[in-house]
Amino acid sequence: MAEKEVAILGVGLHKFGRQLGKSCEHMGREAGLMALKDNKVDFKDVQIGFCGHCNQPLGTGLHTFSELGMTGIPITNVEVACASSSRGVILGADLIAAGAYDMCMVIGVEKMPRGMVPGLVGDISDASYEHILGLVVMPGTYSMMANRHSHLYGTKREHFAQSAVKAHRNGSLNPLATYQEVYTLEEIMNARMIADPITVYMCSANCDGASAVILCSKEKAKQYTAKPVLLVGWAQGTPIYHQGDPALSEGPTDLLAQKAYEMADVGPEDIDVAQIHDAFSPGEIFSAEKLGFCPEGEGGPFIWEGNTEINGKIPINTDGGLVSCGHPIGATGGRMITELTWQLRGQAGPRQVENPKVALLQNAGLGGMNVMIFKI
């Protein structure tokens, strides 16, 4: 049986922010209602649900979906750290492509305290020697990769910081982002250093938020809208063992991108707008290379020269990315899909890229990575 094509039918977001004082169920409901109303989908037509979250209690998926209805559908919680809700959409896409289900909803939610990311270590008596010593600090691996990148390619601190300049400027155009502050390059580089070369303004912040995505078969989507956004390629994976590799990356970005490009029958040159995982700003430099937007080693100058601005060659993170939107872990993947959907539909307002047709998402976490390609 031929695989069915997959469409993104509805998207929605609850504003991201620091300690909003609302429950996950409440935020998920608001994002979910927005997604349902997007193309006038009835909740009773949703056949299967996934709830992306990392640190919420047992039953969060059920309780969140129950705000919208209790129709008996299977609801499963998905945790791939920062890549949870995009993984939920991929799981739904595989089911729809196989003809097992026709309408799936993915809600991503997270409530986070201030300070360090919770859930990195389980029971403290199980903590690794590295954690006890103090080596497990969130920007640590990105900082080490940034310094290796500088050593190999001469990438400058300004190059890494420029990603944050753009992130904050784009975020100022996004009312749903946690931060809407514009910062100069100097302000970002002189801000409090967390782990060289990453300063506090180059880090994504813990925050609360929710996202929702409704996906279905293309033929079903056409009952709702004449021109649905299509999910045309996807790949998911985890790091692969290589002898001597420091194993600092969340996953094999280039391999997953290659798989997704092949499935979508496009190349990096065809991508008009992208969302990449900037938990810390150097991530944009690494991913631009691994996704094939620029040659290996040239990510620094590529970002520095403005190629990833809204009016640039390949706009990346037009809504401010993780750095400016903030990072409610379970909701981030869905936020990326929401912004790309709005971009493809021409609904991105002041952040709108000119006439994009093909979009790419790269979402990574401690636990795996997803690459997805969308078309309209």
Partner: protein
């Protein structure tokens, strides 16, 4: 006098390393070696990541390596040992093992990629039984 010689040295965390029993002996980092394909790993492993064999023996890893990359941490996780600023590094050992560790006993600003470093133990505190609780990291090789 007698009680000082009776002091045992114990690792801050079991399973990662064995501190030197005395100042005249060498401590070591616990590693694994696959008897089937020869790949090495940090820590004890039950299954080889290269060939999936379960024939793995515990070994002592090399005590010298090279800094592959590093960063200077200016902020730390509450309740952890090292006080910022401290250097977090990936050290490459001759067995083709990469190890996340700290570079201690030097000015953080003096650390460079490619620097030769050696295993270094220090006493963190004494426990209730009077044992010396030890930690390990790497420090620049003194030439």
């Amino acid at each position: 006098m007698a009680s000082k010689e009776a002091k045992k040295r114990v690792p801050l965390r079991k399973g990662a390393f064995q501190p030197p029993a005395s100042d005249k002996e060498n401590g070591y980092i616990i590693g694994s070696r696959c008897r089937k394909c020869g790949h090495y790993y940090y820590r004890k492993r039950a299954v080889c990541l290269n060939c999936h064999s379960e024939e793995i023996e515990e070994v002592a890893l090399s005590t010298r390596g090279t800094i592959w990359t590093y960063t200077i941490a200016r902020q730390s996780y509450p309740g952890t040992l090292l006080v910022p600023p401290f250097v977090i590094a990936m050290v490459e050992l001759p067995e083709q093992v990469q190890l996340m560790t700290a570079i201690t006993d030097c000015d953080p600003e003096a650390v460079r990629i490619g620097m030769e470093v050696e295993l270094y133990f220090w006493k963190v505190r004494e426990d209730e039984d009077g044992n010396e609780v030890m930690a390990f990291a790497f420090r620049p090789v003194s030439n």
